[in-house]
């Protein structure tokens, strides 16, 4: 049997593919299944951009059983569940996804500095995150965010991630690459990293190794794993 940690796109897709090959799986997530794609479905532009992957994931959700549980160690797998602590003597596949690197800056630390990940979630939850927004860094997800935010706010861009922030109760201005931007909000992208807070030892798949916003690569990583391990 294989224990899959995380029921986002990669975990669900992997579980589905393994089931098709007759491998027994158990999938755990500490929250409801769907991972960040579930968040993306709530923003029209993201829903459209990631549509293919969201559909694939939804079809996997209907086929795979997901258990609520927090995996705190692997080898053997130890899961905290509402029923108690469960120890499973099988290998774990880590499909816990990626997380944005912290958007730290020079200067002051007023409210109004977000990573794209936090900004996307807040938008999905129905909050407006600012009026004049500076997007700093380089990635396709920022282009997508620019379109979403551009509907209601003034948006500016800079490629630099070396930024100085001014402001006390809220961001007032941001200096990047010698240029000063007047804004109340900064969205800063410093890249993504594996989300593995319990430092679980096991095979990483999907966005846990891709560490990005490009789900074509995430999909490829899961399929490469399946083909390598379970090719007939």
């Amino acid at each position: 049997m294989v224990v899959i940690v995380g029921a986002g796109y990669s975990g669900l897709l992997c579980a589905k593919r393994l089931k098709e090959r007759g491998v027994k799986v158990r999938v755990f997530d500490f929250r409801e299944p769907g991972g960040e794609l579930l968040v993306f479905t709530k923003i029209p532009e993201f829903r459209e951009h990631y549509g293919k992957f969201i559909d694939e994931m939804n079809s996997a959700i209907s086929e795979v059983e997901v258990e609520r549980g927090c995996v705190v160690s692997a080898n053997p797998v130890k899961v905290l569940t509402p029923m108690g602590i469960e120890i499973i003597n099988d290998s774990a596949v880590i499909a816990a996804g990626a997380v944005d690197c912290n958007p730290w800056t020079y200067g002051k630390r007023p409210p109004g500095v977000f990573s794209p990940e936090t900004a996307i979630k807040l938008i999905a939850y129905g909050y407006s995150i600012g009026r004049r927004i500076l997007l700093a860094g380089e990635d396709k997800v920022l282009d997508l965010l620019e379109t979403v935010l551009g509907r209601k706010c003034e948006v500016e861009r800079t490629k630099s991630t070396e930024v100085y922030v001014e402001g006390d109760k809220r961001v007032q201005s941001v200096e990047a690459d010698g240029e000063e931007f007047k804004c109340d909000t900064l969205i800063l992208f410093r890249g993504r990293k594996t989300f593995n807070p319990k430092n679980l030892q096991g095979e990483l798949i999907g966005n846990a190794i891709v560490k990005g916003y490009d789900y074509s690569s995430v999909k490829k990583s899961v399929e490469d794993y399946i083909n390598l391990k379970y090719s007939r």
């Binding site: 500490f30 927090c70 705190v72 997380v99 990940e117 936090t118 807040l122 100085y164």
Partner: protein, 444 residues
């Protein structure tokens, strides 16, 4: 009429309030911010220092005493405290030769210290550079979450009858002979005795009763790295020549085990200047990385706080009858806080006949063990997986302190990564934004 009013709920004011709450006194605490410990306290290093040089200073004596009291305080109030120990490293032959003298000197003042061979040192801290000569291990050094420590003292005080008013800046004081009137935007408050714990603004409060002193802000910048376990102890270098103004910071760790490098000491003009310069970050890394084989992975935060410096020592006095200054509480103020509280209690006893309360209410302690997490999972949910913080724990703090910052600093939710920040904001959004004047999470 209050018996005592404390101005400021930083770590000093909060510990004094906690100590006074054990006696039959009517005590009031006025705090400018929306929760305790959100000014200087939150931006200190969280180190419980083993000692402070030179030993003749008041702050040195209170540091030793506070360090010894800390286990009992942590037990009584229910905050996390770990004696992780401090390793001070000899980087050159001269400081290496000084090790026996350092140990003798520390032991003379009651500080436990033992010599470490290079081999032992590298066993204890595998990331330390091969180029070191040896070191001294001082086991009594520890780490806390300073805001949790402060908030727990406030919770104890509140449970035992102390009144707290947050968002309440004192703008004037009138001395009426047998009592003082404290003027704030939330009205006037009367108290027989006033204790000035206003930190960086203590000089302005003292001025309101006609006492002149000067508090100079000394900025200290820190770097937090993601690499938990990079070192297991606090690591500093033995200085060739001690600096009178600062212990010089170190390759420290936070109470959660993340590397915390700094602080430096930069004199700044403004009492609000907590901005971090790129040169400072480069300077801190350049200063401490030679102690190691490599630099820790990934910066996740940089922050600066202000020390309130009034000369070389703490200023704890009563310059005007019934007006007590607890000012200039620079490093090691966090360590000294319980001892300062005892000292102030002595000073207060001159004005009141102190009667200890028959019984005291103890705060309920939240358990973080795995069984209790399991049993809470059925009706609750984990929001922050890094630090295992549940929705219920977040909302409990939010009920008490209407501040996003306080929730983060006390529960430590969202302090490691970006996964749950939006979820915490969503949880707090309605509750916090509803009844507040000053918007801290002004995203809308």
């Amino acid at each position: 009429m209050n018996d005592i009013a404390i101005i400021g709920a930083g770590v000093t004011g909060s510990f004094i309030a906690k100590e006074l709450s054990k006696y039959d006194l009517k005590v009031l605490v006025l705090e400018r911010k929306l929760a305790p410990g959100l000014e200087q306290t939150k931006a200190c290093s969280g180190i419980i220092h083993p000692f402070q040089l030179p030993f003749k200073l008041l702050r040195s004596r209170l540091c030793l005493e506070g360090n010894r009291m800390m286990d009992a305080e942590a037990e009584e109030l229910g905050f996390q405290f770990k004696r992780v120990g401090l390793i001070t490293v000899a980087k050159n032959p001269i400081t290496f030769l000084a090790i026996p003298l350092i140990i003798l000197y520390l032991r003379m003042h009651g500080v436990r210290a033992e010599a470490l061979s290079k081999k032992k040192l590298l066993e204890m801290e595998p990331n330390i550079s091969e180029k070191v000569y040896g070191g001294v291990f001082i086991p009594s050094a520890g780490v806390v979450n300073p805001v949790e420590m402060t908030a727990k003292a406030c919770m104890f005080a509140k449970l035992n009858g102390v009144e707290f008013v947050y968002g309440c800046e004192v703008v004037g004081i009138e001395n009426r002979g047998d009592h003082f009137v404290l003027k704030t935007k939330k009205g006037d408050f009367k108290a027989k005795v006033v204790i000035n714990c206003a930190g960086i603004y203590a000089d302005e409060i003292a001025k309101m009763v006609g006492y002149e002193m000067k508090i100079i802000p000394g900025k200290g910048t820190h770097i937090v790295f993601a690499d938990r376990g990079f070192t297991n102890h606090l690591v500093v270098a033995i200085p060739l020549k001690p600096n009178k103004r600062t212990k010089g910071g170190g390759a420290l760790i936070g109470f959660d085990g993340k590397p915390l490098w700094g602080p430096n000491l930069v004199d700044v003009e403004s009492k609000e200047d907590t901005s971090v310069k790129r040169e400072e970050i480069e300077g801190i890394i350049a200063k401490f990385s030679p102690l190691f084989r490599k630099t820790p992975k990934e910066i996740i935060a940089v922050y600066a706080g202000l020390r309130s410096i009034a000369g070389s020592d703490f200023v704890i006095n009563e310059p005007i009858e019934r007006f007590i200054n607890v000012a200039g509480i620079q490093s090691p103020g966090l360590t000294a806080a319980p001892a300062i509280a005892k000292m102030v209690l002595e000073m207060v006893s001159r004005h009141f006949e102190l009667r200890r309360k028959q019984s005291l209410v103890r705060p309920v302690r939240a358990s973080k063990n795995e069984e209790s997490i399991c049993s809470s999972l059925s009706e609750d949910e984990i929001v922050c997986l890094c630090n295992m913080v549940t929705k219920k724990q977040i909302l409990e703090v939010a009920e008490q302190f209407k501040s996003f910052d306080a929730v983060k600093q006390i529960t430590w939710a969202g302090m490691d990564c970006e996964k749950c920040k939006a979820d915490i904001m969503k949880l707090l959004g309605d509750r916090i934004l509803k009844d507040r004047e000053e918007e801290e999470i002004a995203w809308s």
